[in-house]
Symmetry: C2
Subunit: 147 residues, 2 copies
DNA sequence: GGCTATTTGTTCGTATGTATA
DNA sequence: TTATACATACGAACAAATAGC
């Protein structure tokens, strides 16, 4: 029987790494999401838990979570926790009009409120000559080019 | 001569406001950008300056800047400062193929490096049946529906 | 309703390291 | 080299939101 060589991912934070601890921690949590270990809708371990498990300060944990929030991968609810964001249950499919130009950018806080989007969710801006621009939240909208 | 009534915007931070100091400060800087007072390419006042001008702690200033960075409105360079981001000098106009479906999301750090985009810049994901998805950085790409 | 424990939110302080001019 | 500016990371305290009883 030949020995088996396996690659095991290191799941600890290396304080001597060139990579900041909070970036490493964000990577660990992101990997857990990508692997399905943390499924959509499930809570990320609490700040306290992550502090104890990884032996880092609260700020380090909060910055890691903040990264995932700005990536749109988790949503944080005050007093409750951070939860893995999934694909929207229902996405509106908007068929573009010929010649429409589409850009995408992040919303201001006011726009976040107006369109009801959480952090890390971009906006579509659809413009056509002679018309006002229309804006769609990118987490609930799929644009489709006309046939 | 009738008296003139003007609305003067308060440009100070109110510690008693329900709105966190760092959100207020981000709003002040955002307003300065929108008004043209801080034009594209210009540096935002340094952390030290903002600390002194507004009488807040460094973290408060850093969080305000971080908000604007995740909105894609400023870019921060270590050891130099934060600079107002303008529209890209050159945007590639990509004409969509019929039936293409477009979504938009924030990049992971790896994708940020791969596509050379800074914080706060979304990605376009363009998919068509039978093809691999194509990805474009939203700060240098405008999609156009075919005529 | 009220109380308590948990969890996240905000804000200060301090120290050290890295990058730039 | 020195000064300036941003980056990381620890600690601490209190506020606010939430959930369970």
């Amino acid at each position: 029987m030949t020995p088996t060589v396996r690659t095991v991912k290191i799941v600890t934070i290396d304080p001597d790494s060139y990579e900041p601890a909070y970036v490493q921690l964000a990577g660990l949590i992101r990997a857990a999401i990508d692997s399905g270990e943390l499924a959509a809708g499930q809570p990320v371990p609490s700040e306290k838990t992550l502090i104890q498990q990884h032996g880092v300060a609260r700020e380090t944990v909060r910055r890691a979570i903040a990264i995932l929030r700005t990536e749109g991968r988790v949503q944080t609810l005050a007093g409750r926790g951070s939860y893995v964001r999934g694909s929207a249950d229902e996405a509106e499919i908007v068929t573009l009009e010929p010649g429409a130009r589409i850009s995408s950018r992040m919303p201001s806080p006011a726009e976040r409120r107006e369109f009801g989007v959480s952090e890390g969710v971009p906006l579509f801006v659809v413009e056509r000559d002679g018309h006002d621009a229309r804006i769609y939240p990118a987490d609930r909208t799929i644009l489709e080019a006309p046939n």
